[in-house]
Amino acid sequence: MATVIAEPAIGRHARALDPVTNVNERLGRTSLGVTFPRVIRSEWVKLRSLQSNWVTMLSAAVVMIGVGALSAAFLSDTIAGGGDGFADTTDPTTTSLSGMMLAQIIVGIVGVLTITSEFANGMLRTTFAAVPKRLPVLWAKVVVVAGVTFAVMLPTMFATFFIGQVIIGGDLNASLSDDGVLRAVIGSAGYLTAIALLGLGLGSILRQAAGAIGTIFALLLIVPGLLGLVLPASIGDDTLKYLPSNAGQAVTWIGPTDGLLSPAAGSLVVLGWVAAFLGVAAVLLKRRDA
């Protein structure tokens, strides 16, 4: 929509500069200053004021619930058709959460765009002129992106789980009190939060959206399979489980856990990836010309 707004006339306020003079006292020089909570508030205003952020975040929620419901219906049909032991190896919780594969890419994109859009239009320079120490801006983005992602994804995961279980129905469905179910449901929201931060870190390092989104896609969806094919099993078995997607599965997955880390170790490894990307992002953001 390239509608151009009619240019408003610079009216009688054109020289209304008295406010500028007086505001000195009224703003209260002493109360002005950069603090971390203020930078967080600024980043919250930025994220909240872009409709695209909410559309994207909501589409991740819709994907989770929609794919979960479809998978659950498929599982339920298979069972009804007397599906030959299929249900034995397919966990109802994992089935209901099978939208993760796609949802992780979507929240990753939200994280990427949070910073690459500012590189693209020059807003980051304006921001850094207001917060010249720079790093508070990155950490405030971490707080806001993590907060919003988790706040949207946690209820989404519960909704996805319950809808899935209703569809699967009968004796086969899982309940929250079953072993590991609560961990998988909450862990899935946590994993998506981590991926959003991974996107933020990558976007900050690469400074443009296309490269960062491509890298997220490759890291989460292509690299695990590719390395599985290329590496000899002796090496692959010991290393592949440390990839972010596989480490995440240790937390979000219920079912056969061959070759996966323990849920606790998996969480730590995912956090380690996030810390590494954000650490590199912080060093580069501080050092490079904006």
């Binding site: 929509m1 610079i10 054109a14 002005l32 239009n121 020059g122 850094f128």
Partner: protein
């Protein structure tokens, strides 16, 4: 007050700014003038702490920007037009900026009023014209009621009314005792706006002078004389320190070294008719061209 102290900034082996030093004082509008590619924007980014200089340093109001508690209250800058997310409204853009330094939202409404964007404050900035984008950028620069204002080519994209407006605005800000530093590649614009000029070319300081001094330098003391008798006039005018050149018009001579009045008097005394007698106008453009002649990055190469 802005102090730029022997700043050098190179990108690889290309030197964008070369041992540049100057001081921008409060109370007057200081123009930052130079051809495109002279290093003006780079210098401004270094002052704003966005680019780190290869050597040297810059301070605003006595400190580098990062050492100020409330940077927006010290210096407001417009570095590029429409440095704003197209999907965000002008109000939200300024509100996010204000929040970082603890500036209340009523100040956001105030600066929107000052630049005349209140009526479109809730519209997506993507639909703004370049001129409106400039005005939004100026609103952002005024947000923290700063002592120092830095604007990079603020006149770009403004309509004539907008240009007059910004001239008056900057004049008022300077009159209030603020430091106002404005870049432009247009000497004519600076001649109308600024009192003092920092002129750069190829990253080096060429002149640090008042506009009046520059105008003075520009005075060319030649006079164009149109006469039906060029040889006769030449005879009565020739003397020490007087140069007479022919021009592309056969009856017109260019006389250097004599005031127009003397030329007229001598012609009258000798009975030589003059059809016109025109002292050449002082031109800031020419002074600027002369100053920057050697510094222009890409001189046309003679074939």
């Amino acid at each position: 007050m802005i102090i730029v102290d022997t700043i050098t900034k190179s990108y690889g082996d290309k030197v964008a700014v070369d041992s540049l030093s100057f001081t921008v004082h409060p109370g007057v509008i200081t123009g930052f003038l130079g051809p495109n590619g002279a290093g003006k924007s780079t210098t401004m980014r270094v002052i704003m702490g966005l680019d780190s200089p290869t050597s040297g340093h810059a301070t605003v109001n006595g400190k580098s920007l990062a050492d100020h508690r409330a940077p927006l209250h010290e210096v407001g800058a417009l570095l590029e037009a429409k440095a704003i997310h197209p999907g965000r409204s002008a109000y939200d853009h300024l509100s996010a900026l204000a929040a970082t330094n603890g500036i209340p939202d009523r100040r956001v409404r105030e600066v929107l009023d000052i630049v005349g964007l209140s009526s479109v404050a809730k519209k997506r900035a993507g639909a703004f014209s370049l001129g409106m984008g400039q005005r939004l950028g100026i609103a952002g620069a005024l947000l923290g009621d700063p002592d120092t204002i830095i604007l990079d080519e603020p006149v770009n994209g403004l309509d004539p009314e907008g240009i007059v407006w910004i001239r008056n605005l900057l004049k008022d800000l300077a009159d209030q005792g603020r430091t106002v530093f404005v870049s432009s590649h247009l000497i004519s614009e600076m001649g109308l706006m600024a009192e003092h000029l920092i002129v750069v070319g190829r990253g080096k300081l060429i002149a640090d002078t008042s506009v009046d001094e520059l105008r003075h330098m520009a005075v060319d003391d030649s006079v164009e004389v149109d006469t039906p008798d060029p040889p006769g006039l030449t005879r009565v005018l020739l003397g020490d320190g007087v140069a007479i050149d022919t021009t592309d018009r056969p009856h017109v001579l260019r006389v250097t070294g004599l005031p127009a009045a003397t030329i007229g008097d001598r012609a009258f005394a000798a009975g030589i008719p003059l059809h016109s007698l025109i002292p050449r106008e002082a031109s800031l453009e020419e002074a600027f061209m002369r100053l920057t002649h050697d510094a222009v990055e890409y001189q046309p190469v003679a074939a």
